[in-house]
Amino acid sequence: MSVADFPTLTADAIAARVRQGTVTPAEMVRASFERGRSVGAGRDALNIVLWSDEDAAVKEAETLSSQFAGASKGGRLAGVPIAVKDNIATLGLPTTCASKILAGYISPYEATAITRLREEGAIVVSKTNCDEFAMGSSTENSAYGPTRNPVDIRRVPGGSSGGSAAAVAAGIVPIALGSETGGSVRQPAAFCGIVGVKPTYGRVSRYGLVAFASSLDHISAFARNVDDAALTLEVMAGVDPRDSTSADLPVPSYREQFVSPVTMAKPLNGVTVGVPREYFPDSLDAGIRKLCDRALDSLRSLGATVRDVSLPHTSLAIPVYYIIAPAEASSNLARFDGVRYGQRIASGDGLRSMYDATRSAGFGPEVTRRILLGTYVLSAGYYDAYYRKAQEVRALITGDFTSVFADGVDVLFTPTTPTTAFAIGSISDPYEMYLSDIFTATANLAGVPAMSMPVGRVEGLPVGGQLIADHFAEPKMFRVAYALEQALGDEAHR
């Protein structure tokens, strides 16, 4: 192979070559930056990368190589350049959440997930653009301008983790980290034609993920194929003493369970795929419906039993989400007060006005809207009507999932999004934008694992198919995803 192949190489392939000694980590890092330049990752073009430092990244790669000794040529991600959403704490590069309020902030500590990736040899090459504090579905709500979709630069890459999705789709890195609160990895994965996976709540430590809505937030991964997504998750997963909500359960090997239709005719024999009718409304784009039907046919031909099911509380997910998420956000974002770090605007007129000036100038309109909404729903006299009620409905939505899984369904299959990537600036009504997460927010509310994978294209634009499994049933989900990916082959990108 040559370094020119870099944009098409998987993380697994890069690490294998580094371990074999046929390429060096530094070459891979340089190739990543070279690719970034050639596709226009910078602010004046795709606007994927907010912060990067090529010299530092190359140096880190060289340090990594110098630590290789004898047979030990690095870990499972040896020399793999990765991109990280700018709301995950990294050492060396800023962590601003694409917000002015954190302008110049460099974290003095690192997220657990990043540490685990680095321990396996990954090298962080860039911090990627996103919706400010992960609030948005298009990466248009960034203080640093929108990211453009590499598939069609007039369109959004989805959001809020649009920069990381675009970085993977454009071949700048094989894998990248995003975060999900309501679909912020699966939706951009669908829009950019790549794989995005959100694990079970508690599977990956949130330590170092700047909180938006703590009970819904998940560190999640992008990759160009299912195997890399599984590999990335395997590395990050596992209990963390710094996150009380992380699960103290063993991490199985997700990739060992893969069975390809090449080696076995019916690798999904005995697997039941549920198709929830609420995710296929009459209004669903006809092209998307067709591609989903094609994917379901593939699943049948792989041996799976496909069955209609119902998740009756699905329509309540968006209203519930937009109560719980802003409520938690209003509290989580209180720490950005100009006192200890980030931007401070001192009006010279006392504490109250410093708070007002700092926060008014520091937060963009969508963040401000959600803080106000969240403050309102938690106020005395409204708590029971909104927040408490929303938590009750959330339990019903979770119950929908647990009952179909208890009823013999192994995984659910749905479209990831109701539409393909929309044009930049085309949606101005916040509620219309919120509906873009209609099929994804449910899994965050229920805490179940879910992923999006390419199932084809409509008018040249990628369409994602979503798989959802029961809590901690990632092995099953990956197994079905892998078989489907193999069966679809190049059709997934046509």
């Binding site: 995950i88 704490a89 500590y109 703590s214 909500t245 938690e328 209003s330 209180a334």
Partner: protein, 481 residues
């Protein structure tokens, strides 16, 4: 004005710092007096992305306190966020417990001024974290923030409005502090801020069963300050009501120097804290066996120790109170009393020379050089006539300095009693020679002068002469005999 038409109603909220080495939700030290902002980390600085992890030792201590106060400890309790903006509150919310606290429904018995006992209800005991400190006087015109205290674990103990006078409030606080000290959950020092008291006070006409509008009084820095603040605020409310006015629900800050409480400019009552369950922490689940073990391991409470010591040793109730005020002193007394077999003498020594020495040195008994066994030995040396009481006090002083055993000191310092007739006769001769008037009168038969002469001999011998033998020897010389 007739304030005696009114009855005072008081409920107290006590914050006690739990005696843990590390903070409630991170590993930072809780040590007092460190350089500002050195006991901090991403968690207690509320850096973006940091998460709290509950300190198990804090839970154990809070549970012990709740059980010692007779509360029911709940198998499930919930941490909530109390949201408000303040520069020394780094997260913009305090992690506390709200509608599902650790424990509820306890009682505390206090002694009333009339000598009776009164039971004060404990509404709840919950866990929370402390805020940092705003420092207004260090840099001119600027407020500095010290976050060393931020995240330090506290319990808040909320009483029912069961107290009717400043004295009852004082008795409640002293009893509560003693219990927390005995069970070793808190340093309970108001000076170091490990104990803080807020008082809710209202006035109502005697005989009225409804509660009046209460005000909250804060910023007291001693128990007597609490009592004074309550008296002040009650009088203010009575005056208001007498004039036909009403009491507004507000917060007042006690100014100890001026002896008055002033209405706080920040309207605490109007705060909406927007409590909601803390999503970063799981519900606190305590298993019944663990609660039972914690209960079984509670050290002896003050009331139990008092009755036990009163039953075991011949010591007055008043002295028992003094001896048990502090658990370490009580422990010390009991060891001395047991080892010497003389409770009365042990009590006198502890309340006398021991406390006086400690107070003079500003020391804690844990740092005291005199071991209980050595003090017991000294007591027995007096009993056995080896040293006089006066000499024993000198031995004790050296023990407190050096920590050496009493027999060795008495020997080295020549403080053992002298009963040898020849030595005593020499001292007697000298005394008679030095005091010719008294000598002449005594030898002439004025027997009442014998005591005076014994005193001179004792003084001359530096307390070493055996007074009994001196008396005998003098008596044999006295005239008219």
């Amino acid at each position: 004005m007739s304030a005696d038409r009114y009855e005072m109603v008081v409920g107290l909220e006590v914050h006690a710092q739990l005696r843990t080495r590390s903070k409630a939700f991170c590993g930072c030290s809780t040590s007092f007096g460190a350089q500002p902002n050195t006991n901090t980390c991403p968690v207690c600085l509320a850096l973006p992305g940091a998460l709290p992890v509950l300190n198990k030792q804090a839970v154990a201590l809070a549970t012990r306190a709740a059980l010692a106060l007779g509360c029911t400890v709940h198998p499930t309790s919930i941490f909530s966020r109390k949201n408000y903006f303040y520069p020394d509150l780094p997260k913009g919310y305090q992690i506390s417990q709200y509608d599902q606290p650790l424990a509820t429904g306890g009682r505390l018995a206090i002694q009333t001024a009339e000598g009776g006992e009164k039971s004060i209800g404990i509404t709840r005991v919950h866990m929370e974290e402390d805020a940092g400190k705003s420092v207004h006087d260090r840099y001119p015109g600027v407020t500095a923030i010290d976050l060393n205290r931020a995240g330090v674990p506290l319990i808040e103990i909320v009483s029912e409005p069961d107290m009717r006078s400043p004295a009852e409030a004082g008795a409640y606080l002293r009893t509560l502090r003693q219990i927390l000290q005995y069970i070793d959950v808190s340093d309970v020092s108001m000076e170091e801020g490990s104990l803080r008291v807020d008082a809710n006070v209202s006035a109502r006409l005697k005989g009225d069963t409804r509660l009046g509008t209460k005000t909250e009084v804060k910023n007291m820095n001693s128990f007597s300050g609490v009592e004074r603040a309550l008296a002040f605020e009650f009088a203010r409310q009575c005056e208001q009501l007498e004039r036909g006015g009403t009491v507004a629900q507000e917060t007042l800050l006690w100014d100890a120097a001026r002896g008055e409480a002033r209405i706080s400019r920040t309207k605490e009552g109007s705060h909406d804290y927007r409590y909601f369950p803390e999503p970063d922490l799981r519900p606190l689940m305590l298993d019944q066996d663990w609660i039972a073990q914690t209960r079984a391991a509670i050290p002896e409470l003050p009331s139990a120790r008092k009755s036990r010591l009163a039953a075991d040793f011949q010591v007055s109730a008043e002295d028992i109170e003094k001896l048990t005020a502090n658990p370490a002193i009580a422990e010390y007394f009991e060891s001395v009393a047991r080892a010497s077999g003389d409770g009365k003498a042990a009590a006198n020594w502890v309340m006398g020379d021991v406390l006086a020495t400690l107070n003079a040195a500003g020391r804690d008994i844990s740092q005291f050089a005199v071991r209980p066994a050595d003090l017991a030995q000294l007591i027995n040396m007096i009993r056995d006539g080896l040293v006089s009481h006066a000499a024993a006090r000198r031995v004790f002083a050296v023990m407190a300095e050096t920590g050496k055993p009493p027999a060795q000191i008495a020997h080295e310092e020549g403080l053992l009693k002298v009963g040898d007739d020849a030595a005593l006769a020499t001292w007697i001769d000298e005394v008679l020679a030095e005091h010719p008037q008294e000598a002449t009168r005594f030898l002439a038969g004025e027997r009442k002068l014998q005591g005076v002469l014994v005193g001179f001999v004792m003084k001359k011998s530096g307390g070493r002469a055996d007074p009994k033998r001196v008396n005998q020897l003098l008596a044999s010389r006295g005239g008219g005999g």
